[in-house]
């Protein structure tokens, strides 16, 4: 190709595009939004609004880390919204029930790990497709939660319970959770043996087995970790406000899955990074804030959101195709 020289000179940049193409697209979209909306209304870039945007969706970003693991390993979980509802209710119930605060913080995370380990085992050892198991779990968790609580709000938690409202250097705790967990998991996925095994199993389970991995164990591990992140997400979700609704947050599973896939996690397994899913969760927060700032009629809000998702996906596909064409 005529541009070969140019490509050669920009090889570092093109390698970055190759490795983190989708993340860059999402980052570009965030930047574009910040610039455009910031020009129209400078308050969009005000300190308060930036903090709201980054912390408000942090629980979705954390849940999307776990979801990304599951999707990269070649599975899916449509029950995560119900699970977060259940775990948040457990946290709140323990907090008002005279248990020490650390119990109210750790038990939901453990329960999340236990439930999802069980789910992972069903998928791995009984060979049931993950969407079937998690569809079933969605019903079981949701129905169980409603029978148990009838939607009674949980109020009157002790003030030190509200970890998501804590601030350090003026930045809310959820932002730290989101950033630290994302970076830690990104490194882990890249360098740890199990992290790499998740990619291998998601990419091609049979080849992974042939090279000495146990796809079943990797699947269970991915789900167990997903349960851990769902537990953390539930804590952030439960401690953000003074009341816990003790219901299933509507459509949360779709939001989490969308964040993962928009962030570049391939639904076919094997590729993607958790950095992308976190960026996508931030992008969603920016979009919904931007729509209010730009006076987009709330009637059209969801249509605009749908268009944006579609545009991101198509842009990614175009990029991949160009990339493939470039390589040929």
């Amino acid at each position: 190709m005529a541009v070969a020289g140019v490509l050669g000179r920009r090889s570092a940049a093109s390698r970055l595009v190759e490795g983190y193409g989708q993340e860059l697209v999402v980052l570009g979209a965030i930047a574009a939004l910040l610039v455009i909306v910031g020009t129209v209304n400078p308050r969009f870039l005000g300190e308060n609004n930036l903090i709201s945007m980054f912390s408000g969706n942090a629980y979705i970003a954390v849940a999307a880390i776990g979801m990304s693991l599951v999707i990269i390993s070649g599975h899916i979980d449509v029950s995560v919204g119900s699970l977060i509802g259940v775990l948040a209710t457990i946290a709140g119930t323990l907090a008002v029930g005279d248990y020490p605060i650390w119990v109210a913080w750790t038990v939901p995370v453990l329960v999340g790990v236990v439930i999802n380990t069980f789910v992972g085992a069903l998928i791995a050892y009984f060979r049931i497709p993950s969407i079937v198991v998690t569809l079933g779990m969605l019903s079981i968790l949701k129905g169980g939660l409603i029978s148990y609580t009838a939607g009674t709000w949980i109020t009157g938690m002790p003030p030190e319970f509200f970890i998501a409202q804590a601030r350090l250097f003026g930045i809310p705790a959820p932002v730290y959770f989101m950033v630290v967990l994302t970076i830690a998991m990104a490194l882990w996925m890249r360098y740890a043996a199990l992290g790499r095994a998740i990619y291998a199993v998601g990419g091609n389970p049979e080849a992974a087995r042939a090279s000495g991995l146990y796809p079943e164990r990797v699947c269970v591990a991915a789900f167990a970790m997903h349960g851990f992140f769902a537990g953390i997400a539930a804590l952030l979700f439960a401690t953000q406000l003074q009341v816990i609704q003790s219901t299933v947050p509507p459509n949360l599973e779709l939001t989490v899955i969308t964040a993962s896939v928009i962030g570049g996690v391939s639904i076919l397994g094997g590729t993607g990074t958790v950095i992308g899913s976190t960026l996508a969760a931030i992008l969603f927060a920016c979009i919904s804030s931007a729509l209010v700032f730009l006076n987009v009629s709330a009637y059209w809000l969801r249509a605009v959101l749908g268009l944006l998702i579609l545009a991101t996906v198509l842009a990614d596909m175009a990029r991949r195709r160009r990339h493939r064409a470039g390589r040929l």
Binding site: G28, K142, S288, V292, F293, S297, V304, A311
Partner: protein, 367 residues
């Protein structure tokens, strides 16, 4: 190219959106009837009974009856409170066995299926809170045709699909209470925004329409900034309210919460933004969720009827209808400890005027 197309998409949709934004208030198209600006009560024209009558009703006077209560959805605080009221009244009456059951999301289709199944199972009475006044009508008419007594509460159906409707408070009365309280707190020229559930929720849309009409009539200088949707989700409500606060800065003086979820979440957003006392929150909410904010003086007035009383009244009306004590043309009905309730608009029973909770009285309520 990718970025250009993205930006183009954003710009296009934004333009399309802003074009529509101008015409929009969040209300419905039905005619409004704002109350007088002072405390003059509305003089309702007497209207003949416009409810329906069930066919071939067996004599249920004084007999044990089975009643099912199908709210808009189960698993939320508000309908948990109404079902408690219904159960309380049933226990007090002693000759009613009642069960609350319904969909887990406010979905017209599932609600219809639930009612249909209970018609088949052979109940004597159905209490309902409709997700949509028209969509629920066919199945309620089916119930009437099978001799089942049908009474609504909280959210009405078309009058010809039920016998009576227990109205918690008239739409224009709620609108007046909300707007007057807001005007008192932020002044006659303050600017406010609204956080509601969805624009398709009939009650909320009606209140917003009545609020617009009343504000225009009695507080013409107040500035209506915008209305945002937040489902019945408290984190979303919190995020939306925070965005409004960030967007309008000092211009925003007041927030209306149109649901018992949106109001505490808006109060929380104001608290966490450190704007207590600068931004007033007025809205519909249950006292328990609002106590922390009222006690911290972040919120001074909360408007709501008592949902436990609403359920309680609905059960008593059901019993009175089954006994034949409440007949078309009646002007009042006795509802246990609530005493005499007035009949309005032909076939509605009014629970009373909306109640305003303040720091002084909120401690006395627990729901």
């Amino acid at each position: 190219m990718i970025r250009t197309s993205l930006i183009a998409a954003v710009a296009l949709s934004v333009m399309a959106g802003t074009a529509w934004a101008q015409t929009w208030t969040g209300g419905d198209d039905l005619p409004t009837s704002p109350l007088a600006c002072d405390a003059t009560p509305a003089t309702a024209a007497a209207k003949p009974y416009d409810g329906a009558e069930p066919a071939n009703v067996p004599d249920r006077k004084g007999k044990e009856i089975t009643v099912v209560d199908v709210p808009k959805l189960i698993g939320i605080g508000y309908f948990n409170a109404t079902s408690k009221g219904i159960a309380d009244a049933a226990k007090e009456l002693g000759n009613v066995s009642v069960k609350t059951d319904g969909p887990t999301k406010a979905n017209i289709d599932e609600q219809i299926t639930f009612i249909d199944n209970y018609i088949t199972s052979g109940v004597d009475g159905i209490l309902f809170a409709a997700n949509d006044p028209v969509a629920i009508a066919p199945v309620l008419k089916k119930a009437l045709s099978k001799g089942i007594n049908v009474v609504g509460y909280d959210a009405n159906s078309t009058p010809d699909a039920r016998q009576w409707f227990v109205n918690q408070a008239e739409f224009n009365g709620i609108a007046k209470a909300l707007v007057d309280n807001m005007a008192k707190e932020i002044g006659e020229d303050g600017a406010f925004a609204i956080v509601t559930s969805t624009f398709t929720t009939p009650n909320q849309a009606r209140w917003i329409a009545e609020m617009a009409a009343y504000a225009e009539k009695c507080h013409p200088n107040m500035k209506w900034l915008e209305t945002v949707e937040a489902q019945e989700d408290n984190v979303l409500s919190f995020n939306q309210a925070s965005t409004l606060i960030n967007k309008y800065g000092d211009e925003l003086k007041g927030l209306f919460g149109m649901t018992s979820v949106a109001t505490p979440a808006s109060a929380e957003a104001v608290t966490q933004a450190g704007k207590c006392g600068e931004i007033a929150v007025v809205g519909l909410a249950t006292p328990n969720a609002m106590k922390p904010y009222v006690e911290k003086d972040c919120v001074t007035s909360v408007v709501l009827w008592n949902p436990v009383d609403l359920g309680y009244a609905a059960m008593h009306v059901m019993r009175a209808v089954a006994d034949g004590a409440l007949k078309p043309g009646a002007t009042s009905v006795t509802a246990g400890k609530l005493g005499e309730l007035q009949v309005i608009n032909g076939s509605e029973i009014l629970l009373g005027a909306p109640f305003t909770f303040t720091k002084e009285n909120i401690g006395g309520f627990d729901f």
